[in-house]
Symmetry: none
Subunit: 205 residues, 4 copies
DNA sequence: TATGAATGAGAATTCATTCAT
DNA sequence: AATGAATGAATTCTCATTCAT
């Protein structure tokens, strides 16, 4: 009986449906080896089924990538949006954007890695148009915060917000390449150090 | 006739040998589409020959990638090495490492892009062992400078040099994704702004 | 509730059993897209069930095709047979064979279309041996009528009955490709015009 | 030397280039088994190469079908066009259209068979838009002739030209299903008999 | 140097069918 | 009767590489 309940819960997406399980496996492999280098057979092998059986759940490999990225980006958007709407001023907002990003790297390592490695090649496929859209939305939110900070005098005015945004975005996200959850340095410490550098500078003054 | 003369000149090492030309074409395509997504046929098409003919110049596709990256990394090593050996103190060294890197992005966009996108997947192939080696050498040079700066008090002592190195390396190199030579912002300006942020911080104090 | 009653009625042989419904859906899809191009999933989708569930009703896709065609050909045989046995001479018989055929196109468009498109490929599968058998029976009946007509002088004697049969059979049946029930020209008018051409010729004399 | 000349001629499309040879093999198989049922492997096997090697010559299976049909239809158009432009009146034109069609069946059996069996499924694929276009052109030419004949009184006026065209077109082309070159009845005799039926009727008057 | 033809290994995808529940 | 998950064989297509000419 207990088992049946368990299964029933799983089926309805409680802990994990078969579909979600396959998405997780796919995400891991995509992140580790790259989307192109990950064959549907790799995924199927890892899931313990035949490659053709994957098509019972997803219509194509592309559809798997799509589903993996879309969910992640939707979640990130919600998080960012909340920060930009409710904050204690630009400095607080910026700090929280940074921390939320490192948190995302911690929580969704695979998805972040996939996004980082594949956007370039996914753009141009119409199914992935939302990638560019999200990209624009994210940029607008960050720049809004940076400009508000310059206007209110908490951020230096001699820096190009666009360039500053790119620097910050890149440094934060590219950290997914070396960050290991459970490693020596926690994700919170990384965010702390990064904020210290970017806010106060490397120079000892 | 005129065309033939042109070709003949090129062949005998005039401005550019056929081989160098093919490497350049390959590098461009690798950078634009990724190594895996670039087929030897793409390269051959772009060069105006048949794919099989490429094998008169190079023993394999891997060999082309190898040749493209090796030369670039050797040059970068020489540049870094010179800076680390001859400088006016850690701050000068750090500034020049950053500037040299942005210069490399400007001069060798394709190579930097390829390196950024493919290291992860090329590591593990023994022919590309030198990638990891160079990587270590570069890291050691940057960290030497950062630690010297902390020791002499020009850089803040409360930052982990390893983490700082990673942040800087990532931000600098990842800029290849958006930097366009001849665009609004010159590579020198980018380096300036980046150094201002990283040395003095974003905060207005 | 009302819907359930509806279903229940259908189930118990009201107007149409589930089985007959599935056959109808299958026939339509086979006719529209071809047997090979129609997957069991198409059929199941159109019926609102999963593809595996079809196998509770039929043992295989081939069995569906079989059932669709067999019933149609049996009916057509009965019709032809009655005409050949009871008629007012060869001319009457021929006219009624033609009219009966156009009537069949009208009544069983899908089946005729399937037969036309697939005989060639179904022949050779032993389960479909009856196709060739029916084919022979039909031919014999038509030729019997044509030869009787030549013998009695109502049909020209300088035509090869075999060739004539083929021409007539082809023209009649191939009309399924363009005939649309409810269109501008009724099936009776089509039969009329066709008989005028084939009996009296195109030439104005 | 002689052999070399032979080969050279073949290469430049003299007797038969490899490409043309593959097209011919493909056409035969498509006609015999249907396009869908003919796998690229069948074709490759028949050509004595591996299936992948076909893609050295053609970009896809669809492209092979395309090339096979396009050439045939272009040729047929030219033939029809010449007849419609240069003739001794509608009756002569109609006779020659019919004879030319049976000739096409004789000369290009495979292509005609493919066209007959596959138009329905090929239409809707944009690459094959020209099929519908040619179809319209052919129809317009036949109808032009039929209407001219009715206007000048050589053809009966009580028949719908559209319907008449369809009947004739169908009967003529569908003959590809049973016509065997070198069989008992020559293609010229078939055309003769068909013209006798269609022009003067089956009835003995 | 280059062509043209081919290999061979493997990729993604399709699909009829099975079966425990 | 129907679901949901899977099989397994086949299909189209890709691509680095080879090699005789």
């Amino acid at each position: 009986m207990a088992q049946k309940t368990e299964q029933a819960r799983a089926k309805h997406g409680g802990i994990q449906s078969r579909r979600a399980e396959l998405l997780e496996i796919s995400a891991r492999l995509f992140a580790e080896q790259g989307v192109r280098a990950t064959t549907v057979r790799h995924i199927a092998d890892a899931a313990g089924i035949l490659s053709g059986s994957l098509y019972h759940h997803f219509s194509s490999k592309e559809a798997i990538v799509d589903e993996v990225l879309r969910g992640f980006l939707d979640g990130l958007f919600a998080t960012y949006d909340d920060i930009v709407r409710n904050n204690d001023g630009p400095r607080d907002a910026l700090e929280r954007l940074v921390r939320a990003s490192f948190q995302a790297i911690h929580d969704s390592r695979d998805q972040v890695a996939i996004y980082q490695d594949e956007v370039k090649h996914l753009q141009g496929i119409s199914r992935f148009d939302y990638l560019e859209q999200r990209n624009r939305e994210f940029r607008d939110m960050w720049i809004e915060v940076l400009e508000a900070g310059q206007a209110s005098g908490v951020f230096r005015a001699d820096l190009d917000p666009n360039l500053t945004y790119r620097f910050m975005r890149d440094t934060v996200w590219v950290a997914v390449r070396w960050y290991r959850p459970g490693g020596k340095v926690s994700q919170e410490e990384i965010a702390d150090q990064y904020l210290r550098i970017v806010l106060d500078g490397l120079a000892d003054d």
